[in-house]
Subunit: 288 residues, 2 copies
C-alpha cells in the first residue's frame, strides 16, 4: 500500500487506467474519481477504475495523499488551481500531461507552499478515449517520464516514481525542457504528420489505402481537442520538428527528382536499419 | 481448379503467400517457384508455398498457364523479358508490383504477341520479408487493383481477377495512371514519410518513443531496395504527394506559430473524423 487516499481529477483513458491499476494492485486504500458527468463516473466505477466519485473537486481531493490531475493539458492549470485550495500542504500532486515545460512552470507556482508537485508523463494510451477503454495493464512496459525542477521535492518525486513503477512502467527523470524537446520528436510530431497525411487524401486514394496507411495514420484519430492543446503548449519544439521533417522530405524529394538511386537507397536503408534496431531494443526491454 | 500449372517468379512474401493460397484452396494443379537461391526455395516448399522449384526461369515457366512475376519492381521488366522467351502465346502473365504505369507500358510491349499480360497490385504485405513470413491468408480482406490498358485481353483480365478473388481479395480495375496516382497518396507517400520521421529522430528522442511512434513508423522498416525502386518508378506522383504534404505541414506550422487554436482544432478535427470514418468503412467491409 503506497497511499491512503488517491484522488484522480479527470477519469478518462489515462486517469481511469491508473485508478484501475492502483486498485487491482492494492496500492491505495481508496481511489476517488472527480469528473464532470455522473454517468461517466458511474461507468468508471463499474469498470473498477475508482472506488467512489464526486463532481465536486474540492470535496474529492480533500484529505488525499496524492492527487493526479489527468485532464487534457488545456485544463490542467485550471484544475490545479482548484485543487490547491482544498488540500493539505503535505499532499503530493502530479499530472499526466503530454507537455511539461509550461505545465511545470505554472503548477510549481500554483502549488508553491500548498503542496508538493511533480510532473509526470506516462507514455501510454491510444487513440481511444474515456474510462470505457481504461485498462489496469495500460502502463505495463510503458515509459513514464518524470520531471525535476528547482522546486521539486525529492521525496515527492521518489513517491510518484515508485507509484508508476508499481503499476508497471519504467521511469526516467529529466527537466521539463528536455522532456518537451524529446517528446516533440517522438510523439507530438508523428501526430501532426499523421493528421496531415489523412488531410491530403481524397476519396479515391482512401479507397486504395491498406494496412500501411492504417498503421501510419492510426494516431490521427486521436481526440483533436487534446492534441490541439498539446501542439499549442509545446509549440516551439513542435515547430522545430516540423522544420526538420520538411528538410528531410525536401532532401528525399530532390533525390527522387534527380533519380538518384544510390542517395535514395541510403536514406531508406538508414531509416529501415534504425527502425529495426529500435524495435529490437524495445522487444528486449519488454519481452512478451 | 483455375489453372493447371502456375509459375511464380520470385517466391518472397507476396509470391510465397500467393503460392500457399493457391495450393491450400486447390486453385492450381501445380505451383512452381522460380528464384535465385535453392535454400530459400526449399524453405518455401517446406512451408507449403510451392509444389516444386527451379532456379532456371526458362524451365520454370514452360507450359505454365499463368506466370506471376513477384519480384521487387526494379527486377520485373528483366524477369518479364526472360519469361517472354519461354512461354506459349496463350499463357497469362501478371505481376504484383506496387507501381503500374511504367510496368504495364513495358510489359505490354514485352508480351505483345507472346502472351496475355495483366497488371496486378495486391495491397497486402508487411514490413516483413521472404517466404518465411508467407501466409495463405495474406490476401483475405485485402484489395487487389488490376489494370486495364488498350492492350489488355479481357478474358485474361477476368481470369486474373477471379484468381485474386478466390484467394480472398476484393478486386477493382483501373488504368495504370489512376492506380499510380491513388496509391502514391495511400501507400507510397506514407512510406516516405515514415522513413523521414525515423531519420530525424535522435538517440534521446528514440528513448522516449512509444506505441504512437511504433505504429506511425512501422513501414519505415520495409525493404529499402524494394521501396527505392517504387519511389523512382512512381516518381512524378510521389513528388506531387510530397508537395501536398509539405503544404499541409506548412499550414499547420502557421496555425501553431500564430497560436490559432480554432484553425488548428479544425485541422485536427477533420483528420480525426476522416480517419474514424475510414476505419468504420473498412471494418464494415471486413468484419472480423
Amino acid at each position: 500500500m503506497l497511499f491512503q487516499k488517491v484522488a484522480i481529477v479527470g477519469v478518462g483513458l489515462i486517469g481511469g487506467s491508473l485508478g484501475a491499476a492502483l486498485r487491482s494492485r492494492k496500492l491505495a486504500a481508496e481511489v476517488h474519481g472527480i469528473g464532470y458527468r455522473t454517468t461517466t463516473l458511474e461507468q468508471a466505477k463499474r469498470r473498477g477504475c475508482i472506488d467512489d466519485f464526486t463532481i465536486d473537486l474540492g470535496e474529492g481531493v480533500r484529505n488525499a495523499e496524492l492527487v493526479v490531475i489527468a485532464t487534457p493539458v488545456s485544463l490542467i492549470e485550471k484544475k490545479a488551481r482548484e485543487t490547491a485550495e482544498n488540500i493539505s500542504p503535505n499532499c503530493i500532486v502530479t499530472d499526466v500531461g503530454s507537455t511539461k515545460k509550461i505545465i511545470t512552470e505554472r503548477l510549481d507556482a500554483v502549488f508553491s507552499g500548498k503542496a508538493r508537485f511533480v510532473g509526470s508523463h506516462p507514455m501510454a494510451g491510444s487513440e481511444k478515449r474515456g474510462a470505457v477503454n481504461a485498462a489496469a495493464d495500460l502502463f505495463e512496459g510503458a515509459l513514464c517520464i518524470l520531471t525535476r525542477t528547482p522546486n521539486t521535492d525529492e521525496n515527492a518525486l521518489k513517491a510518484v516514481e515508485e507509484m508508476w513503477r508499481e503499476v508497471g512502467a519504467a521511469t526516467t527523470v529529466m527537466t521539463p525542457g528536455e522532456h518537451d524537446r524529446r517528446v516533440a520528436l517522438a510523439s507530438h510530431l508523428p501526430h501532426v504528420v499523421a493528421a496531415s497525411l489523412v488531410n491530403i487524401e481524397n476519396d479515391s486514394s482512401l479507397e486504395c489505402a491498406a494496412t500501411g496507411f492504417a498503421d501510419a495514420t492510426r494516431i490521427a484519430a486521436s481526440d483533436p481537442k487534446l492534441w490541439c492543446g498539446i501542439c499549442l503548449d509545446n509549440a516551439e519544439e513542435i515547430l522545430a520538428g516540423i522544420d526538420s521533417l520538411s528538410e528531410e522530405l525536401d532532401s528525399i524529394r530532390t533525390l527522387i527528382k534527380k533519380g538518384d538511386e544510390r542517395g535514395l537507397f541510403e536514406k531508406l536503408r538508414r531509416a529501415s536499419d534504425r527502425r529495426r534496431a529500435w524495435e529490437q531494443e524495445r522487444t528486449r526491454q519488454n519481452p512478451e
